[in-house]
Symmetry: none
Subunit: 428 residues, 2 copies
């Protein structure tokens, strides 16, 4: 089955916005057994929208269209579709009630253009959108299908997962099945993982089985693809390769699932072991706490923490010895060790972690260049710090420090001895 995508919006053409929606939808449709054969990216121009829909529908079984559904004058998509298929507009009562409620709960005056959000072409089926004010729409035009969705990424994703996917199943049934498994690793580089840990995998890579190394922010993700005439056949085809990877790369694997994060796994392990965590952050400035609290239910194991950005906070709130800051500097083993232990003791947590470093781009010296980072760890059985040298980029340094600290906790909770990126434990 063939699918085409139409992305509408001037901001995409002049380069203000990167078309991440098309990639997301391409991956989604590929996983659902469709061949995505073309993406049109066009402007909010009614003639171009009509032409592209006609062209795409003639070449494919389903067309996914995003963008141009906002309340302002430059949003043309709904009008284009209604004109193209000779449909009248009707006001959808359910959508109108939702939009009115949405505004009243926010104390925002409901203006004239907001009424338009509830208008849809009369022959469409509304794909109700819980996460925004523009509804999705589903059209069946002589046995070809068109889904129209807003361009806001999280709204489009919500509609694809909750409204379009069931439609695909209902309309197209099962065709060729592609099955993807995502094995996520952390704390190891792509080439070390490939060359030194996994080695030659040619004997697994046949009969439609393929492997991709996807470097992502949190670590390297391995995507295993398999195909089959049934869903379970496709699933089975990748099992030998997956088993082999799990055996060889055990200590680096945080788990499976495209969206799995280290902070999620750390949370599961903390719940399992009945332990609690506290963090004392200097150079990461709240990023570790933010990652941890992105996980629903984190209040069960996360006590909280200090963002000890200034030395006075380190000394007065975290009881770091002022003399150690003077002698060794705020970016030092001694300070990292004290921050980790003291935050855990003060907040009554079982585990404490800390970060102190030079995030950059300014503030480095010959002895401690930008990118010098200390991470501290404390629990009742061990107390150490590790030193890393990252990049000259502030945001990348914050991210790497965050990932390394969380992966360190994961490995300890999992009983794995090695330290991320082969760094060395330094004791008090």
């Amino acid at each position: 089955m063939r699918a085409e995508i139409i992305s509408i919006g001037n901001e995409l053409l002049i380069g203000d916005t990167v078309n991440t929606n098309a990639s997301w939808m391409g991956a989604f449709m590929t996983e659902h057994g469709f061949e995505v054969s073309r993406v049109y990216t066009i402007s909010d121009n009614i003639i171009q929208i009509k032409q592209s829909i006609v062209s795409s529908m003639s070449e494919s079984d389903i067309v996914l269209c995003t963008g141009g559904l906002g309340p302002t004058h430059d949003d043309m998509t709904k009008r284009a579709v209604a004109e193209l298929f000779n449909m009248k507009m009707r006001t959808d009562k359910e959508v109108l009630a939702f939009v009115q409620d949405y505004f009243s709960r926010r104390n925002i005056p409901f203006s004239h253009s907001n009424f338009g959000q509830a208008e849809v072409p009369d022959a469409c089926e509304v794909l109700f959108n819980n996460s925004g004010t523009a509804p999705g729409m589903w059209f069946n035009i002589d046995g070809k299908y068109l889904a129209v969705m807003p361009g806001v990424p999280h709204e489009m994703q919500y509609l694809m997962q909750n409204k379009v996917a069931p439609k695909l199943h209902q309309v197209f049934g099962h065709t060729t099945h592609l099955y993807s498994r995502y094995i996520k690793t952390a704390g190891i580089g792509e080439s070390t993982l490939s060359d030194n840990i996994l080695g030659n995998l040619d004997s697994f890579l046949k009969d439609g089985v393929s492997l991709a190394f996807l470097p992502m922010a949190g670590g390297v993700t391995l995507r295993l693809n398999g195909t089959g005439s049934t869903k379970s056949g496709a699933e089975q085809s990748v099992v030998p390769l997956a088993d082999y990877i799990h055996k060889k790369a055990f200590e680096f694997i945080i788990g499976e699932g495209k969206e799995l994060t280290v902070s999620e796994v750390v949370g599961q392990l903390l719940i399992k072991s009945g332990q609690t965590l506290a963090v004392a952050e200097s150079c990461t400035g709240g990023m570790i706490a933010n990652e941890i609290t992105n996980i629903s239910g984190s209040s069960a194991y996360f006590m909280g923490g200090f963002v000890a950005y200034s030395n006075s906070v380190k000394i007065n709130q975290l009881s770091v010895l002022a003399g150690d800051i003077e002698t060794h500097g705020a970016v030092s083993k001694q300070v990292a060790l004290q921050m980790a232990k003291n935050v855990a003791v003060k907040l009554g947590a079982d585990i404490g972690i800390s970060t102190t470093g030079i995030a950059g781009p300014d503030g480095g010296s010959v002895e401690k260049p930008v990118g010098t980072i200390w991470i501290g760890y404390w629990d009742k059985t061990q107390h150490f710090a590790i030193k890393a040298s990252f990049t000259k980029d502030r945001i990348i340094n914050k991210e790497r420090t965050t990932r390394t600290a969380l992966e360190l906790v994961r490995r300890i909770l999992k009983g794995v001895d090695s330290v991320p990126y082969n760094l060395e434990k330094q004791y008090p």
Copy 2:
């Protein structure tokens, strides 16, 4: 002058690679006075490549095509172009010498397929590529132009800047210049801004001046586009509209610049007024501190903060009265007020802000549903809290609370009375 872009590569369609090339080229061509009217993203399929080139050349003055120029069997672009225009292939001696040297300097054996890199359709002009082994190509077909470039981003960018740009100048001369100005707002919705604040702008939207509302994570960005026969003419053309917007929407405007963030502006205003900031975060879990410390130089005004996730941290570290938590709940005006004041006093900051709320997806009640958020504010002259009702989505709730809190601080530092999203100040 109209331009179209053709991006070739299966990896773009199945979502493994995001099409950043098209955005980069879109911005480049827009700045050079072209209207980019369409992007085709297609697979490495010879028929589709030919069809797309024919279609794009019929609709535009210049077509920019990237991808499918590698040495492997799935790279089809060169063959498609040669077949389409009935050209023979020739070996380019200069390219061959460069490619051979490239391999020998890297000690890589020169294989048969590498010879193909030096072959080009005979009627093309070679755009010599210093940064890779695939040359760019320039075609003049009956007064319409086609540039073919590799899909590797830094190679494409090198060719666009060093080879295509001079060609554009030579062939099209100075044509129309486009100028874009970005005015960023925060704490106001798109429709309120459009309908209630700005009103009808038709009198400004003529002679090539246009306005787009771009909803982004931090707020609504207004993009003003102007055109002119000179660069300064294009710049001048948007001045009346920009001035009008600044006058009407003054209190909601954080500044100008596509990448400007509220946390950056708050930092500038704190430095200017010589004040310092501290944060006490419950439901945002470190996100506010993280946003603030993403800004280089934030240590000058940011003291740090508490992530007071558990009630015990609120009570023991932030001296929130246990009785108030018992009586009013942790998500209450009383707790938000105490957190904001106490964090500022404890850390010796001039301004304290706090958040406490039900981020979700669980934990709500009838009285306090998921999305109920309190934000507290304290400085020596005022002390209040605001209540907001956001969504059922945890991450969106964290983000909105973060933006609202930072925008609140910005408005106070700027002397603006109104509260983001028209929320109400509630005093102790």
